[in-house]
């Protein structure tokens, strides 16, 4: 009995880590540039461009105002197109990423916006190009805040991934619903909740620790 539960939990945990890991990676690759572009195209910034700024802002807002559970169902056609199926952990990665990119984008935006304008001006006075300012000033200076922002994103993704489980996405959420809820297995429900809590704690502590080490202020 017990080994069976452990095996179920272990498999589910691996699935959750996989889903969250891949979507977090995609969020980093797309969300950081998104956040950076949102800042630098803003009024009075190094590459002011009101059209790009407004359009991107609107897209981000639209995505962020859709509840995840709706997004999950609404983009099924897109998921099918990309992964070939709408169930399973690979299918779950599509909505997870789509939710995480604008989420992280906004966090990156506020982190980058915090970078002292004086420092940017100093870099400009030294003849830095906009790309150099992004790579050598904005991102390194905002790095501790970016790490904390990514931490928040990963934690949100853990929560979202449980929801994805509800429609057959796999992972801990799926396990909790199929066994814990539908088969009245209180022990499995409890175990998944404990694992989720531990996971979030671990991610948050790691994030805090890393941000602390990176901060030179």
């Amino acid at each position: 009995m017990l080994p069976e539960i452990v095996k179920l939990l272990a498999e589910a945990l691996v699935e959750t880590v996989y889903m969250v890991g891949i979507s977090a990676l995609i969020a980093v690759v797309a969300g950081i540039p998104l956040g950076v572009i949102l800042v630098i195209t803003g009024k009075g910034h190094i590459l002011e461009h009101s059209l790009v700024h407004t359009v991107l802002g609107a897209v981000v807002n639209a995505t962020r105002s859709t509840p995840f559970i709706i997004l999950l169902v609404a983009i099924i056609p897109l998921t099918r197109l990309l992964v070939g199926t709408s169930i399973g952990i690979n299918a779950a990665i599509v909505p997870l990423s789509i939710a995480a990119i604008p989420f992280l984008g906004r966090i990156v935006e506020s982190a980058i916006r915090e970078v002292d304008r004086g420092v940017i001006e100093a870099a400009q006075s030294m003849g830095a190009s906009p790309l150099q300012i992004v790579r050598k000033v904005l991102i390194p200076e905002a790095l501790p805040a970016l790490v904390l922002g990514l931490t928040i994103t990963v934690i949100s993704l853990i929560g979202f991934s449980a929801m994805a489980g509800a429609i057959g996405g796999g992972g801990l959420g799926d396990l909790a619903i199929r066994y814990g809820y539908q088969r009245f297995r209180g022990d499995i429900m409890l175990a998944t909740v404990v694992i989720l809590i531990a996971q979030v704690q671990l991610v948050q502590s790691l994030g805090n620790h890393l941000a602390q080490r990176l901060s030179k202020k």
């Binding site: 420092v119 006075s125 003849g127 150099q132 000033v137 390194p140 990176l214 202020k217």
Partner: protein, 351 residues
């Protein structure tokens, strides 16, 4: 080295603001030129127009013979590498060590690690921060941060250094040491320096020439000593008063001066003198030749960049005609003479 002609800057917002209203300025190579003004006078905008951090609405900016206003973005980036700038709040990269902050402009210019090393270490030596090279800005004092700022600004061997209120966030001692450093590098590297400040002390300490900016216009400019001895505008006088005591002694505060001489009354003058004039026995001569009595109410001698500069407040009493003669006598000497006023009656103010 730097030539500004007809610089105007208009900020268009809900209300359009004209920050600069036609500035003409020439700074020869190797000079330290100070621009002094109160906050809001436009000095910050003006210094940013020199390296195009602010684009002037009209006018031309020549730096080393090249028109900055006509450069493309890329050309401007190249040109800016030859114009160093330091800031009131230092603007160092908090995520980089002292060494890496100084290396930053060299990285931007695409130098190799070895080249960077060869240039950064002597610069740290120059500003006296060799021991601090692995510290982060947060671990440094204000003066040390500004030294990093200076080393960083010099990394690309600029011909011009712009100082934006570089000492305004520092205490008086630190200000002195930073000003000395700026003076040193001005001499050593034949660097042209333009600085803006609201502190007359800074102008007095290191500038060769000064421009007074008010409400977007340079209202007065000239050699620093000239400004101190013969200020032409009220604003300039106000700035001078911040460091040279121009106030009348307390016992004169309550006297109402009139602008017309009165019979048997006295005249109170403020006299400023520079350099060797100070050695001429002016006071005894004016008393003898013009038959007036001269009383020194206040005296102060200061030096402005090694030249003695003094202020005297004199009370001269005698007949109106004699007072006029005395005034003429003083005015033809190389003296700054300002009539504070005439006191009526036989007032023996000084004890």
């Amino acid at each position: 080295m730097i030539e500004l002609a007809g610089i105007t800057k208009i900020y268009n917002g809900t209300q359009s603001v004209q920050a600069l209203k036609g500035i003409d300025l020439k700074v020869p190579a190797g000079e330290i030129y100070g621009i002094i003004g109160k906050s809001g006078a436009g000095k910050s905008t003006l210094i940013r127009c020199i390296n195009m951090l602010e684009r002037p609405t009209a006018g031309t900016v020549l730096v080393d013979g090249e028109d900055m206003t006509g450069l493309s973005e890329q050309q401007l980036q190249q040109k800016r590498k030859k114009i160093g700038m330091i800031f009131q709040h230092f603007n160092l990269l908090s995520s980089r060590t002292v060494y890496d902050n100084v290396a930053f402009p060299l990285e931007l210019a695409g130098k190799s690690r070895q080249e960077i090393r060869d240039e950064v270490l002597p610069l740290l030596e120059l500003v006296g921060l060799t021991e601090w090279k692995d510290q982060y800005p947060a671990q440094l004092s204000g003066g040390q941060k500004q030294r990093v700022g200076i080393a960083r600004a010099l990394a690309n061997k600029p011909k011009v250094l712009l100082c934006d209120e570089a000492t305004s966030a520092l205490d008086p001692q630190t200000t002195q040491s930073i000003l000395r450093l700026l003076r040193d590098i001005n001499k050593k590297l034949a660097l042209t320096i333009v600085l803006i400040t609201h502190e007359m002390q800074v102008i007095k300490e290191i500038c060769d020439r000064v421009g007074v900016i008010e409400d977007g216009l340079i209202i007065e400019q000239g050699a620093v000593l000239e400004l101190f001895t013969r200020p032409r505008t009220a604003t300039a006088r106000e700035f001078i008063r911040t460091i040279v005591s121009h106030d009348l002694p307390d016992r004169f505060r309550n006297i109402r001066f009139s602008s017309q001489p009165a019979s048997g009354g006295s005249m109170v003058l403020r006299i400023s003198f520079v350099g060797e004039v100070a050695s001429e026995p002016v006071i005894s001569r004016v008393s003898r030749d013009c038959q007036v009595d001269t009383n020194i109410l206040f005296g102060n001698i200061d030096t402005i960049q090694d030249t003695p500069f003094g202020t005297l407040i004199l009370e001269i009493s005698g007949e109106p005609a004699a007072l006029d003669r005395a005034l003429q006598y003083l005015r033809v000497r190389e003296l700054g003479v300002e009539v504070i006023g005439y006191a009526a009656g036989n007032r023996q103010a000084a004890g």
